[in-house]
Structures are given as C-alpha cells and as structure tokens.
C-alpha cells in the first residue's frame, strides 16, 4: 500500500510540475524516473531492468527516424517554399490564404511533427500577413488548431497516436480506416468554424494584395537537390507504412531505415543533423515510460483498473465517450503525451480483465488529439505559435485563444462523439 501511495505521489507531483511549468518537463521526467526507480529498489517493487523494459523503443525509434528526415529537409527551404507558394496562390485574399496555409500545415503535420511544421510555417505566415497589412493572429491560431486536428488522422501525425499504435498494435492502415474519416469531418468543421469566428478579421480587403504576387517561392528553395532526395525517401517511407502489416515491418524500422538511406544519399554534416534532433522530447518520453512503468509495478494501475471495471457496468459506448471527453478535458491543460502514456497501462489492464478495449483506444486518440485545441497551453504547437506571435505587433493573448480555440475544441469533440457512436460497431473490431 505504501509503495502505491508513494509511487502515485511521485507521478502526480511530476505531472503537476509539468503542468505548472515550475520545472522544465524533460528535467521533471529525469527526476521522476530516477525517484521512481530509487523508490522501487528501496521497497522492492521496481528495478533498473524493469525500467529499461518499460521504455517503448518502437515509439522512440519512429520519432527519431522522422526527426532525422525533418532535420534533413528543414535547411533546404522546402517548408518556406510551400508557405510562400500558398501566399502567392492566395492572391492576397484572406479567406483563401487561411484555407491554403491551413491545408499546407495540416498535410505536413499528418506526416511530420506538428511542432516542427508550425515552427517553420509560422514565420512565413507572419511575413505574408505583414506584407498584406493584415493581422497574422487568425492565421497562426488556425495553423495550430488545424495541424493539431489533422495530426490525429495518421499513425505518425501526432505522438499520442504513435504511443497508442505501439501499445494497441494498430497499423498505419488502421488509422486510415478508423481515424482519418472522423478527422476529415472534424477538420472541415474546424476550418468552417475558424472562418466564422474570424469573419471580421478575414473580411478586410488588404491594401497591398499585389505584393504577394511578387513572392518567388522558387528562390526560397535553397537546396532543391537535397529537398528532392529527402522527399523521395520520405514518400518511400510513407508507402512502406501502408504496406507495414503485409511486409511485417515495424514503423520504427521503416522510419529509421528511411533516415539511414536519406543520410547516405544526402551525406550531410552529421553533427549539424543531430543538433536539429529534439533530444529533449525523446528523453522526456523515455523518462515518462520509466515513471509509468514504476506506477504499474507498484500496483497502482491494477487498483485503478479494478475501480474502472466496476464502473464498466455502464454501456461500453458511453464508457468510450467518457474517456474521449476525459482525455480531451485533460489535454486542454496538460500536454497530451503524459496523459496518453498514463492511460495506456489502464486500458491494457482492462483488456487483461476481458474488456474489449479496441474502441477505447480510438476514443483516447480523438480526445488527446482534439482536446489540446482549447487553450493556449493545450498543445506544444499552440505554445509555439503564441510565442512566435510575440515577435509581431499583435501578440496572441490567452484570452483570444480561449475565445477561438475552445469553441473549435468543443465542436470537434462533439462531432467526434457523434461519429464515434455511429461508427461504434466498426470500432469494436
């Protein structure tokens, strides 16, 4: 009992530190993992070997492989090229610009990390808006919200999906058949809602619409040769993701294999590439796995599962909806990664007890994916665009985000819930 209480305390204190931003999340993860292993050894419920075994290397490998591909693509100017191209194609019409930039960001974030996408697209977005003489805030918020929403569609789109896929054994195609249709509907809803919520800002006719026609996207592509090579490898990797089940390949192998091929083909300065990898994210994930592993070993999860099982007398559909809204509500305030990592053992525990958890995984994916839209701190992409906007004349405030993001979050979760109920028979399988 004492082990369970102390292990829960370590985990909750770490979550609180991450949430309150009192301590950097990776440092918190380090400390929490070390404390958990130390406590486990002291009370004899957890040790180093178990901690290493708790790390999901499939997730880490997939993340690392994709990060290397992005690190190779980033300096070529490809992302700027796409944003500049969208700017030119918009002919300076705000609504068209919103749709084009939103689409570019979403498509990229379906296959690449949301944060990287937003970091690279947002500065060009601001540039285009400043050239047009319009407020960039609606475009930046839309990019973050649409990339969060779109990222929920694919296995590689968002870290929670990678975690869920690895834990539940879902393939890339499972996401295309189970998540993509729901995300498509909610994405269009989000876009329509953003257009409505920002109708006043988008109604202005920019005085300098012609200036964007003089943007030359070609000139922003600094290294077309490398860009072409990385894109070919990336397309190959995505193709293999489709065939993953049939070829019996793990996503991590595909991503790391693609990264190694791209590295050999491009032959970059490897130190420069490795510097661009977000090691803090990988370390944070690893530490969280170890912490949750300790929580599991202490028996906390078992107790929680017993408790949930007793609640499972309610209809399973309703249980899925509760999970969807519960994870969405938490994701609005806390990073969705720790939430997902913490909920995975709970669902796995329920499965051992004979509950069909297949539909619950999807409920978790939707909740974690859409919940982060509600507040400025809901997802890393939100935090990033808000901090980039501080470098303009019109910084995005938390209040503005709540007014625009919360309706989008509520509407997307609501529609996802309806679709979830309708498609429930499909999710059982």
């Amino acid at each position: 009992m004492i082990a369970q209480i102390l292990a829960s305390l370590i985990f909750l204190a770490s979550l609180w530190l991450i949430f309150s931003e009192k301590l950097n999340r990776t440092i918190t993860g380090f400390l929490g993992a070390a404390l958990m292993v130390g406590l486990g050894k002291l009370l004899g419920f957890y040790n180093e070997t178990q901690a290493v075994a708790a790390v999901d290397f499939n997730t880490l490998g997939l993340l690392l492989g994709m990060m290397i591909l992005v690190a190779l693509l980033e300096p070529t100017g490809f992302f700027q090229f796409l944003a500049a191209w969208a700017g030119r194609l918009s002919s300076g019409k705000p609504v068209r610009l919103l749709v084009l930039l939103g689409t570019v960001t979403t498509v990229l974030s379906m296959f690449l990390d949301n944060v990287t996408t937003v970091v690279l697209i947002a500065p060009v977005t601001i540039l285009i808006c400043e050239i047009l003489g319009i407020n960039p805030a609606p475009f930046l918020i839309a990019e973050a919200l649409l990339s969060n929403t779109g990222g929920a569609a694919t296995l590689v789109g968002d870290p929670p999906n990678i975690l869920i896929a690895s834990a539940a054994g879902f393939s890339f195609n499972d996401f295309l058949t189970h998540a993509l249709p729901v995300v498509l509907v909610t994405w269009f809803l989000a876009l329509w809602l953003l257009r409505y919520l920002f109708r006043r800002e988008l109604a202005v006719r920019p005085p300098n619409a012609d200036a964007v026609l003089k943007l030359n996207p070609g000139e922003s592509l600094d290294d077309p040769k490398t860009a072409r090579r990385v894109l070919i490898v990336l397309s190959g990797a995505i193709l293999l993701f489709f065939l993953e089940e049939w070829l019996e390949l793990s996503p991590a192998f595909i991503a790391l294999g693609a990264a190694s091929i791209a590295l050999v083909w491009v032959r970059p300065d490897i130190n420069d590439v490795l510097r661009r990898i977000e090691w803090s994210v990988l370390v944070f994930f690893g530490a969280l796995f170890m912490m949750v592993g300790g929580l599991e070993a202490s028996g906390v999860m078992g107790g929680l599962v017993d408790l949930l099982e007793r609640l499972y007398t309610i209809p399973p559909v309703l249980f899925g909806l509760v999970l969807l809204w519960f994870s969405a509500g938490l994701s609005a305030f806390v990073d969705n990664v720790p939430i997902t990592i913490a909920l995975i053992p709970v669902l796995q525990g329920l499965e051992i007890h004979g509950v069909n958890v297949q539909p619950l995984w999807w409920a978790l994916a939707f909740g974690a994916g859409f919940g982060g839209n509600a507040t400025i701190i809901g997802s890393t992409a939100n935090i990033v665009v808000a901090s980039i906007s501080e470098r303009t004349h019109t910084p995005i405030t938390s209040k503005l985000w709540n007014k625009r993001g919360l309706p989008v979050m509520l509407a997307t979760c609501l529609v996802a819930s309806v679709l979830y109920i309708l498609a429930y028979p499909l999710y059982i399988r």
Binding site: N208, I388, H393
Partner: protein
C-alpha cells in the same frame, strides 16, 4: 590612449526622454549610437539606430532563414510604429552600455569592440561622466597612424 582620438562633441539623451525624442536626435545628428545618461552625466545605457528601427521592422524577421524570395515588402514598407510605442521612455528600448575610461589603450578598445561587435564606444572620465565617443574608424585610424614610426625594412 582613446582620449586622443575620440570625438569630444558627444550627443546624449537623459533617461527621462521618450523614444520619439531619441529618434529625432539620432535623425537630426545623423548618428548610429545615442548614449543615455543619468542626472550626473554617467552613461546608463545606449539606444542604437538598429534598436529604433526594430520598432518598424518587427522581430520575427530574424526567424526567417532568408528573404530573397520576397520582392515587394508591401505594407511593411509603410507601417509606422504606434504613437503609444514612441511615447514610451527611452529606458524601455535602451540596451546595456559598454564604455571605456579615457585612459584606455587603443588596441584594448579595438579588441573589445570586435569582441562585443560594437561600432561606437562611449568614453567616460575617471569620475564616470560621459566625455566623448570613439568609432571603430576613429580608433582604427589612430592605430594606423602610429605605423608611421615603423622604419622601412632594409633591402
């Protein structure tokens, strides 16, 4: 010594002035660096031309790896800082000042300018009051002029 090559006619502005006044002085005197001094005439900060221009050219430009593909800056060209921004005190925009005492050696001064990427160096008296300002050219030329004493090499 830096005292021998510095400009003694140095323009400065008080900590109570506004950004608008600083900008007007910089424009009127055609200078790149304006020391901000306290009541005792001691430098407490500097306003650089670039700091003033950053009000016009927003900071996000630093996030863009290149700007070659932008052939027309459109509305950016005609955006002026908000009145409220110009009426803030200079202390809001002021940067930390690096200054030298007037007895500082020329090469030391030059090396420090290179290290800190400075183009103008305010000079203070032993009491700490602003007494002059030396540019890289002032100091560099003063160093070069001492080369006259180097005798030609023998063939």
């Amino acid at each position: 010594m830096i005292r021998d090559c510095m400009k003694r006619k140095v323009f400065s502005i008080s900590t109570e002035a506004t950004i608008r006044q600083a900008a007007a002085l910089v424009a009127e005197r055609h200078i790149g660096l304006l020391p901000v001094v306290d009541r005792q005439g001691k430098p407490v900060g500097v306003i650089r031309l670039a700091d003033l221009l950053s009000l016009e050219l927003p900071d996000f430009f630093n996030l863009l790896p290149d700007l070659d593909f932008v052939h027309d800056f459109g509305a950016v060209e005609t955006t002026r800082p908000a009145p409220k921004e110009l009426d803030r005190p200079v202390t809001a925009l002021m940067q930390p000042v690096t200054f030298m005492e007037e007895t500082c050696g020329l090469l030391r001064a030059y090396a420090l300018m290179l290290k800190h990427n400075l183009h103008d160096l305010p000079v203070v008296s032993v009491e700490g009051a602003l007494v002059g300002i030396a540019s890289r050219v002032d100091i560099g030329v003063a160093i070069l002029s001492s080369w006259k004493t180097v005798e030609p090499s023998k063939p």
